[in-house]
Symmetry: C2
């Protein structure tokens, strides 16, 4: 199909099986001598060169990247990682790499899987997702000099992520929730709550920080701030409980750490007796298909750019690229706030009319 | 981590780099002779055996399966293939296989990519999705004796899929829409519409057939059937247009070929002035997170079983399993109809209260 000779095209041309051509290259003792001579001659004439072997001789690379695939979740929160996977596969293929998937029960299991993959299928580099505080994976990979990049910054409480000894690309969650909070302030809300995850999650605390600094700047007292922050584990049902609690404490609008929480808070808001015509009073995170479907405003991460950058970083290292052409080792991307009219079912007659605010909430920090 | 020696554990033990151990095995000329002798001795003592090479010698297998990843869609319809990918990765890993992803623009591109993968990274077998009429991929794979399995039956209009010369696993769409239609009949609806895709898609026509045979059995005349079927390309917006058309023609309920169409039809139903208390009058397909979020009833495919079966079929062929233990080469699975109360925002106070009907719509056909 591609014009250049392949194992399959050679087999077709010679009228032998694919396995025979493969054996002629890798296990000549399995091929009868006459056929072997004929296949070898054809291979020499055709210029066919088994690409993996050729590549490995030239570059010692397998052209394989690998990533752990986390279990499917409720399909709301997890969908952002599926978007990342699609983008990563595309970006990898554009540079000639394939992406191999594996699963693991926890970080130790992921390290064991990486260890085995390095011994067995010759992976050039790894993409880590779900970074968190005290992440044992990055230390292990550094110690063994395994090329990798993180989607997610290291969440150390003591060290500057821009000093990290490994590359990462991430999205600025705090800037995103700050922008969402400012939108609600601009619309006249003065008691804006935050619905987030239990303390200790780097990603969750970062998203809460953006809300916190914005309501403080706007003059909220510490007592108000305590009142207007609720933390629950991530689910739609918990979002409804947390949302009801916040509205009962006098919040008129809520910024959420995820779209799962936002969906729950949204149902609570609709039942709170609030004036539904004031525009979006609940803002989610990750702009999932669910948010689009019900007309919920949400923060959209630039997943495609993050994935492309992760592949660029690995490719540069693997191909021994020039130092002065190295992609940013530590890159924090800005997100976009997608503002929608809520209530698509009852008012507009159209599902989820979407307009993108295109707000760049944060300039990329380039070190 | 795993107890048995690996490339990484050997390097650690010897105080040399991973690359040095790898070179000692694959490129001894790159290692200085003293180190080489020491590493080789340690390898011999440890019983370490590079697994890929070992496996290939024993079985000539790479333990790699591969699948084309289609571009991300609106996140509603495409999400069922993401669920399949998660399940497939899990099932593959349980049997010791990894899953490699690639992308392609069309069927010819997929064949070219498979051709290249066979020559370069030594893939044992392929999983095809998105089967359709006149599918050039299966003929090519058969001709070149490449192990593969389809998620989706061959949609030939002339040949019995149970006579297909290759294995497939699929879900019985017609039985699913028939069951959905019967549910609406039981609830007293006598003008039930079908909102589907343009004619010619095997999957779409199959889903329409289940509705068609059920309304005919219930006594609908041919003129009614024509009136109550609308075909549009898949999108939420088209679902709204198609839904409005069906309700304007007197439909009181609609069965849909997808959740994207169902979301559109659902908005149309809510605006149609219908009595919302009668229970679900729109039923979708694929039970996406969006359907759960808004309380839409939908058909749930047994994706996990389909993925596990696909891997079993490939594994049996690749491991030269006994013929009398072969998994079904052609397996049609039953789906489940997930019935929900619509209108979670205004009435129940809870998001998407879900109860699974657990209706097995069809016994598996075992040939």
């Amino acid at each position: 199909m591609t014009g250049k000779p392949t194992l399959v095209s050679l087999a077709r041309e010679l009228g032998v099986s694919r396995q025979t051509v493969s054996n002629a290259i890798n296990a000549p003792d399995r091929v009868n001598p006459t056929t072997l001579a004929r296949v070898r001659a054809a291979i020499d004439q055709s210029g066919y060169r088994p690409s993996r072997a050729g590549r490995q001789l030239r570059t010692r690379r397998s052209m394989n990247l690998a990533m752990r695939l986390y279990p499917a979740t409720d399909g709301i929160n997890g969908s952002v990682l599926d978007r990342f996977l699609h983008s990563l596969t595309d970006a990898a293929q554009r540079l000639g790499y394939r992406l191999t998937l594996f699963t693991a029960a926890d970080d130790a299991g992921e390290i064991a899987a990486i260890d085995e993959l390095l011994s067995t299928v010759d992976i050039d580099g790894f993409v880590l997702t779900g970074t968190h505080r005290e992440d044992i994976r990055t230390a292990w990979l550094l110690r063994h000099d395994v090329p990798f990049v993180c989607f997610g910054r290291p969440w150390s409480t003591s060290d500057d992520p821009y000093d990290a000894p490994h590359p990462w690309v991430d999205v600025d969650g705090a800037a995103s929730t700050a922008e969402a909070t400012r939108l609600l302030l601009d619309r006249g809300h003065d008691r804006i709550g935050f619905l987030g995850w239990p303390a200790g999650s780097g990603v969750g605390d970062d998203r809460r920080d953006g809300w916190l600094r914005t309501v403080r700047l706007a003059g909220s007292a510490d007592t108000d701030v305590d009142q207007l922050s609720v933390r629950v584990t991530d689910s739609v049902a918990n979002g409804a409980v947390g949302g009801r609690e916040l509205f009962s404490r006098g919040a008129t609008a809520v910024v959420c750490a995820s779209d799962s929480l936002a969906l729950g808070a949204f149902t609570a808001w609709r039942q709170s007796g609030a004036d539904l015509s004031v525009g979006p009073a609940v803002i989610g995170f990750d702009d999932t298909p669910m948010a689009a479907a019900i007309g919920l405003s949400s923060v959209r991460q630039p997943i495609e750019r993050a994935a492309a950058h992760a592949v660029d970083v690995l490719h540069h290292r693997l191909s021994d690229g020039a130092a002065d052409e190295a992609p940013e080792p530590h890159l924090l991307l800005a997100s976009t706030l997608v503002i929608r009219q809520t209530d698509p079912f009852l008012t507009s007659g159209e599902p989820a009319s979407v307009r993108s605010a295109g707000i760049e909430t944060h300039k990329e920090k380039v070190t």
